[in-house]
Amino acid sequence: MVIFDVRRVAMRFSGAFVAIALLALLQTIIVAAPARSAEPLKKPTEADFYAIEQLKIPPDAFLEVGALEWLPDNKIAVASRRGEIWIVSDPAGSEPTWTRFAHGLHEVLGLAWKDGWLYATQRPEVSRLKDTDGDGEADEIETVADGWGVSGDYHEYAFGSKFDAEGNLWIVLCLTGSFSSEVPFRGWAMRVTPDGRTIPTTSGVRSPGGIGFDCAGKVLYTDNQGPWNGSCALKELRPGEFVGHPGGFKWYDLAPEMGPKPTEPRSGSRWAEEMKRIPEYRPAVVVFPYDLVGKSAAGVVGDATEGKFGPFAGQVFVTDQSHSILMRCSLETIDGIMQGACFPFREGFGSGSLAVQFAPDGSLYVGGTNRGWGSRGGGDYALERLVWTGKLPFEIRAMKALTDGFELEFTSPVDKATAADVKSYAARGFTYIYQADYGSPIVDEAPCEIVKATPSADGLKVRLEMTNLREGVIHELKCPGVRSASSGDLPAGLALLHDTGWYTLNRRPK
């Protein structure tokens, strides 16, 4: 129980005298009640639920982590921007062993394991590596795919995925200088098929920070604030489509399977408007409002741990390089279009969080670098393990769109009195300009009025009816007044660990 929260309840009454009297009364009750725990009362923090464990990196590895992959035999492969791949055996144990598996590669930003080969996405190509003589170091570095141009511009990054269900690797190619497309397929997503073909798959990429899958196998990547991207976002990649930045349109000539070039988007428009004009255009699944939650979206991973990582099984986690944080997304599909909400999840990583990978034990490995782009975590690099402590955080588990509002799902039952009070919530909508200029201010901002809040019988859900739901708008929902009901280890009266979510509404359910 938290004194702080008691005070807040008390201050709702108008007279100070009443408040003080009530406070005294409540304190008496607390003192009188049998103590739930002998520990001193304190406000829960993220660290109570998810612990960050630093891996000790050997001094000879300057490990600006660009990619991670879990290998058989309790090993993890860690690739660095300086072109090394290290294999760590028993990384969570007390004496992990580190072996340099390869070096001299070109900015590795993707690792995937298959059939005894480690596939590495380097800037100019996808290679597969193998140690054939068993000395611990790769001696075969075989080029699998290199069907895209490299002009010598540092911004032409290539991020590679794991294998999809068909055995394809997905590669997202940053634009030249993150602004234009000077050589083929900059600003595109490509698929590398098991038979070695490289297929131009989706246009409209700007400056990716990572690529991964949700638990249903949908391909998701992050793109960053800049031209045609008012803020950073999580986007879905589907063959034949266009995801926002027209800079790479000229390569449609080289990609006959993509069909004709889409209509050019209009600068200064809104994405909801352009969706109507451009059939190939697929809007972002989740927009991360700039600086409100992150400002450099990066690695993407689906939580397929079935609960080993806590109460968010099936959701998607995204790192943010600049804020050194991990963000959480609850997604849904309406009318064939993915959309959903993002929430802050865990801050305080040691460098600019980039690569993410779940281990079989349900812990999440996060690798970081802040070379060239500063981060709140001050280390040049970091490799950390995020472990669920087993305690249940009081969180908004999911936020789902309804015709007239949103349904919130909680990790633990809510206190129905506070959850039914519309004053426990505040909401507003805003969006970003879809434009050729760099980024965008927040525009079209308008408040949403919470008309009604209805908790479910079990207290795990609240149905919020609200005004002014708009398509193409990010709906920010704050729930500062919602309190927990007592359940399991969770005491009553707790505020949410993170009380804000941002839902990107592409489609309003009919």
Partner: protein, 963 residues
């Protein structure tokens, strides 16, 4: 939500005006920028009065009409100082200008002083005054210092970027102009290059009123600008680029250096060449060479300087002599050369080759004493052609007639020219005219009479050529000056607004919702929504780092500038110009004369101040505080230097404002408040909140207090010589092979963006080009410095660190040829379907590169390793396979070298290009043959087939390199 398409913003403006806003400026009316932008459409009385007061000041009314009581409301702008004007301005232009100022220089604010004279008398007076002014100094049309280094093409971006364009619109009077942008007029008729160059060095010297401020340009940039302003477009710009100046021949062959064109045989194409579009002419982007021939028309005898740029190699010949040699595979690079020639027609030729990648070719010429321009304008494809550029007209001579000059001196006095223009020996005239207050008090307030009238009046000395809107505004202002309200002193904010408008600071800056790109009159888009930024104005502001967003291009807001900037710095930046944003923004802050800068700085300095307690940081020693500040600034702390420069070092940063300048620029309290929450002061800034809502990421530093930490950074950067923060200095990161080779895959100069560098323990090194499948570079000594790519963002190509660098392999080292002496295939290997297969490493870590040409059923492995036998020594074992074996290895040739010289030595060695040696050993290798192709020698070997089955044919041999 509506799309805010801006396509028709201009139409919207026009519609907006037609819909009942005030009228459009008469073409001959003076352009006072602040009036055109903010006053012309003023609806409210107060704005119209302000607009009129602005005109009274900007048109110099108070220089004849005493202001007295009105002085607090009307600025005292004067005209240019005319001391020694004869040296600067062409007297012929002065005469033309005086006859009809608004025609000679549309938009001029100088009134027509001779308007009331009849035409003949007027022309005579204009001529006389021109002679008088010419007598103050000798005008010279000669070139200015550094003419040959000035390049109009380089001057245009300077004009467009630094801020000239914000006030003057397009450089050419015929180009686009916003209504408030005053065209430059015909500068080449008015100025000599030397005079314009001198003027631009410090316009404030002759124009202390600072309506034309001084831009802090370096000499080179200023001279490029002068060249751009004075040379007519047709002589160097767009037109000339399309000129057909040369006859061309092209050959579709790949070379690593310029071939002997005489030996090339029949060209693949011949014909006229448009501009320098050699790619278009050859019809390919890689693997060709071109020979251009034409006739250079030298306008005068003398030394001509040529500048030749190309990617890859080129050579310039004039009259058969090589003037510039720019040979070799290289990025776009300039070389100069000069030659003394007679006036008349000379043969000119360019030889050029393109191996692969980027392709460029340009030739400039600077005739004797003249500025540099595209040589296309002087060249024709045949001897009897007419070049675009004819000889420069002879400098006009102007002989001062003493009698006319004396007459002009009188006219200068009579017409009151000296009332506005200071000139030694000329005295102002006290015209018998009412003061402004009296004028305002006059019944009816007739503003269409006298100098404000529509036509010359007998009772007026001058005629301003105003339009009705301007007259109405002046009327409103005069009425105001006669009213009791005029006796009240203007507020500080109003005085600031007046200064920013008259000095046109608002062309670039915003204050109080006015200026910058913000429309002064609402503009609506297609959907009737207001447009927030006028695209034509917004486009004026650009920067070198697009990632900086608007902060990297838009001049900073002046809202609260006196809160932000220290008083001393306000003075400094106004009087000396600004340099702090140079790395991140093209627009430059110019400097202003102290007479206008000081009062403005004083008023701005009175902006309300942010009040913050300066943390004392109790309990921590000063040494600890600055050390912690240093930690926070460095790359292991908050990484401020990832964006900010530090003590002149851009380090890892983008070059955002130098942190050591903070204490000189910023008010301490403002800094503390800004850093705590940058968004509060600058919504949308890319400056992150490093202490979001007071949260501290380094709880162990200075008691974990955000205020202490922010203050510690201030104290650190305030040190006279702060120790550089961690991560600023970039020490070399030399990669050294100890027991095994070290690999470095990155952008390597000379080996392309897909280069694979390998340093061998024997201190020999290679870079293999995985784009073109070739051993691109070999060198000895140190391998490579990884600093460029491993610190910061890693821009650019890194050259080898060691020495004795050479390129043994111009393309794939094996090919199937019809005969041993046939030309080597020139088509880029990836276009031929070539596939790079990666590499394997042997026990010692030595690489075997694999590549194949599936169409030709060739698969090649190249195993490379160093060896230590005295000299630097390298071995390459090459295996070539044919799978399936349908034609054996018939026609397979290995090329070991391409160079100007290849000489046989003992033991099968060949000496190449005079300094490296090669030999090839193996059972399947035929005798060495030197063939000459395109003027270059090539060392070739036929390959035979020691292993041959139905499934495959295979040969392995070894190449040894020593140097």
């Amino acid at each position: 939500m509506c799309p805010r398409s801006c396509r028709s913003w201009l139409a919207a403006v026009i519609v907006g005006m037609a819909a009942g806003l005030a009228g459009v400026r008469a073409t001959a009316a003076p352009i006072v920028s602040g009036f055109e932008r903010f006053g012309r459409h003023a609806g409210e009385t107060i704005d119209r009065i302000e607009a009129g007061l602005l005109l009274l000041g900007e048109l110099g009314c108070v220089n004849c009409h005493r202001a007295d009581a009105a002085a607090a409301h009307v600025s005292g702008k004067t005209g240019p100082i005319l001391d020694r004007v004869g040296e600067r301005i062409d007297p012929a232009w002065i005469a033309t200008y005086l006859r009809d100022p608004a025609t000679a220089h549309p938009g001029t604010t100088m009134p027509h002083a001779l308007a009331s004279l009849d035409e003949g008398t007027r022309a005579q007076a204009a001529e006389a005054i021109a002679h008088y002014l010419a007598s103050t100094g000798e005008f010279s049309r000669g070139p200015f210092p550094g003419a040959q280094d000035s390049r109009p093409r380089d001057g245009v971006p300077i004009y467009d970027r630094v801020g000239c364009r914000a006030c003057h619109g397009d450089r050419l009077s015929s180009g686009p102009h916003l209504p408030d942008q005053r065209p430059l007029g015909d500068l080449s008729a008015k100025w000599s290059p030397a005079a314009l160059d001198a003027f631009l060095q410090n316009p404030l010297h002759t124009r202390p009123s600072s309506r034309m401020p001084a831009f802090p340009l370096d000499d080179g940039d200023r001279r490029h600008l002068v060249a751009a302003l004075l040379l007519p477009e047709s002589r160097w710009g767009g037109v000339a680029e399309q000129t057909v100046a040369f006859e061309a021949k092209s050959w579709n062959q790949t070379f690593g250096s310029l071939p002997d064109f005489a030996a090339l045989g029949k060209p693949d194409r011949t014909g006229p060449l448009q501009g320098f579009d050699v790619e278009g002419f050859a019809g390919r982007t890689d693997g060709f060479c071109v020979q251009l021939s034409g006739f250079f028309h030298a306008p005068a005898k003398g030394r001509y300087r040529f500048d030749l740029a190309s990617d890859d190699g080129s050579r310039l010949l004039v009259g058969g002599a090589i003037v510039i040699d720019n040979d070799g595979v290289h990025p776009h690079s300039w070389r100069s050369g000069d030659i003394e020639i007679e006036a008349g027609i000379h043969r000119i030729g360019i030889e050029f080759f393109e191996a692969s990648g980027q392709c460029t070719l340009e030739l400039d010429v600077a005739p004797p004493g003249d500025s540099r321009e595209s040589a296309l304008a002087f060249i024709t494809p045949s001897r009897d052609g007419k070049p675009a550029r004819t000889s420069r007209p002879a400098p006009p001579t102007f002989a001062v007639d003493a009698r006319l000059a004396a007459e002009g001196k009188k006219a200068f006095a009579t017409h009151g020219c000296a009332n506005c223009h200071r000139l030694d020996g000329a005295e102002p005239v006290a015209f018998k005219v009412p003061d402004l207050k009296t004028l305002g008090a006059r019944a009816g307030n007739a503003t269409d009479a006298g100098c404000l009238g529509q036509k010359p009046a007998a009772n007026a000395a001058l005629l301003y050529g105003l339009d009705d809107t301007q007259r109405e505004a002046i009327g409103a202002a005069l009425a105001f000056l006669a009213s009791p309200a005029a006796s009240e002193a203007p507020t500080r904010e109003r005085e600031i607004s007046r200064s920013l408008t008259s000095l046109n600071c608002l062309a670039c800056h915003v204050r109080d919702g006015k200026g910058g790109a913000i429309p002064a009159v609402a503009i609506l888009d297609d959907d009737g929504e207001p447009i927030l930024k006028e695209p034509a104005r917004d486009a004026l502001f650009t920067g070198p780092i697009p990632e900086m967003g608007e902060e990297g291009r838009l001049p900073p807001t002046l809202d609260g500038v006196g809160d932000k900037l220290r008083r001393e710095f306000l003075d400094e930046v106004l009087e000396k110009g600004g340099i702090d944003r140079r790395a991140t923004m093209y627009t430059l802050m110019p400097k202003w004369h102290g007479d206008v800068a000081k009062p403005l700085a004083a008023r701005l300095a009175d902006d309300p101040k942010t009040a913050v307690d300066i943390p004392a940081i109790a309990g921590h020693a000063e040494a600890e505080i600055v050390d912690k500040g240093r930690d926070l600034v460095g790359s292991k702390g908050l990484g401020c230097i990832k964006c900010h420069a530090f003590a002149g070092d851009r380090g890892q940063g983008l070059g955002a404002i130098d942190m050591t300048r903070f204490p000189k620029r910023l008010n301490h309290e403002w800094y503390l408040a800004y850093v705590e929450n940058p968004q509060r002061f600058r919504p949308g800034t890319r400056m992150p909140a490093a202490w979001p809502e007071g949260k501290v990421f380094y709880p162990d530093v200075l008691s974990g207090d955000a205020g202490n930490q922010i203050e510690s950074v201030w104290r650190y950067v305030s040190l006279a010589k702060p120790r550089p923060p961690v991560g600023l200095g970039n020490d070399p990161i030399e990669l050294v092979a100890t027991d095994k080779p070290v690999i470095y895959r990155n952008f390597i100069e000379g080996a392309g963006p897909r280069a694979i560098g390998i340093g061998f323990p024997e201190r020999v090194n290679i870079a293999w080009d995985a784009e073109a499948f070739r051993l691109a570079l070999v060198w000895k000594g140190s391998f490579i410095d990884a600093r460029r790519h491993w610190s910061g963002r890693g821009e650019g190509f890194q050259p080898p660190m060691g020495d004795a660098v050479f390129s043994p392999d111009a393309g794939p080292c094996v090919a199937i040829l019809p005969s041993l002496d046939a030309p080597w295939p020139t088509e880029p290997v990836r276009k031929r379907g070539g596939r790079f297969g990666g590499y394997a490493l042997d026990k010692e870590g030595r690489p075997t590169f694999r590549w194949s040409l599936p169409a030709e059923k060739i698969a090649v492995r190249e195993s490379i390793g160093g060896d230590s036998v005295g000299n630097p020594f390298l071995k390459r074992a090459v295996t070539v396979e044919r799978q399936p074996n349908d034609a054996g290895l018939e026609g397979l040739v290995f090329r070991a070298a391409v160079a100007d010289s290849i000489e046989a030595e003992a033991d099968g060695w060949w000496r190449v290009a005079g300094f490296w040696r090669v030999r090839v050993l193996g059972a399947g290798v035929g005798p060495a043959t030197v063939v000459t192709i395109d003027g270059k020698k090539e060392l070739r070997y036929c390959l035979k087939t020691p292993v041959e089955t139905a499934a495959e044919a295979r040969v392995t041999f070894q190449e040894e390199l020593s140097w």
